[in-house]
């Protein structure tokens, strides 16, 4: 099965509303990253997390290592938030530690 399960796969939001994306991990995870991929394919780094919570503007993300999940909260969604969001889990492989991606959440924000 998927080592990083991301949900939902797609989401449509009205401008100004709030929502949350989630990733569940079935691998031992040391750190988590969240990315936003634009239509051309470029990945923008949103968060890099050890267990705990970070906030940046209207985005807030939590990594709970004990329960093996991470969430990304979007507050007051704007049109420019549209795109595909990916979470990725880094395992504990030392020099071979690898980042495993979820399948993404395609977000559409409508006015």
């Amino acid at each position: 099965g998927d080592q990083v399960k991301q949900s939902p796969s797609a989401l449509s939001l009205q401008e100004g509303t709030n929502s949350a994306l989630r990733c569940n991990f079935s691998i031992a995870t040391t750190t988590v990253q969240w990315f936003l991929q634009n239509p051309r394919g470029s990945l923008m780094n949103l968060f890099y997390l050890v267990p705990g919570t970070k906030e940046n503007g209207r985005l807030k993300s939590t990594f709970n290592s004990k329960e093996s999940y991470s969430t990304l909260h979007i507050r007051d969604a704007q049109l420019e938030d549209s795109g595909t969001y990916f979470c990725a889990a880094l395992n504990s492989g030392g020099s071979n530690a690898k980042l495993t991606f979820g399948k993404g959440t395609k977000l559409s924000v409508k006015s």
């Binding site: 040391t30 750190t31 990253q33 990315f35 051309r40 394919g41 470029s42 990945l43 780094n45 890099y48 990916f86 990725a88 880094l90 492989g93 030392g94 020099s95 071979n96 530690a97 690898k98 980042l99 495993t100 991606f101 979820g102 399948k103 993404g104």
Partner: protein, 115 residues
């Protein structure tokens, strides 16, 4: 800040030919470089992880014979897709980081089309 460049951004090659792509880290020393492929409708598949002073580790379904990688210094890596076929189409992304558990930064990708 940490930046990763990839070249070329897009390329088209004939079936059975080979294509080389490059990855450059700027502003930091990339001790580890990971090459991924994002196929249409699919998530990111890790091809291989290259760590300075360690052997390049290829994932299942990917081989050095098909995807040879060079990582000669802390700012540059290249990968070649040998004998490209339709199933090799996709966006090839290079991710670089400093240290084993550090934040990984990605280049904009090389989009490969095979005719």
């Amino acid at each position: 800040g940490a930046l990763v460049y990839q070249y070329p951004r897009r390329t088209i090659c004939k079936s059975g030919t080979s294509m080389r792509m490059e990855c450059q880290a700027v502003g930091f020393q990339a001790t580890s470089v990971a090459w991924y492929r994002q196929s249409p409708q699919k998530t990111f598949e890790l091809i291989a992880l290259s760590t300075v002073n360690s052997a390049i580790k290829y994932e299942q379904n990917f081989t050095q014979e098909k995807f040879p990688i060079s990582h000669p210094n802390l700012s540059f890596s290249s990968m070649t897709v040998l004998n490209a076929y339709l199933e090799d189409r996709g966006l090839y992304l290079c991710g670089a980081r400093v240290g084993n558990y550090a934040e990984q930064f990605f280049g904009p990708g090389t989009r490969l089309t095979v005719l």
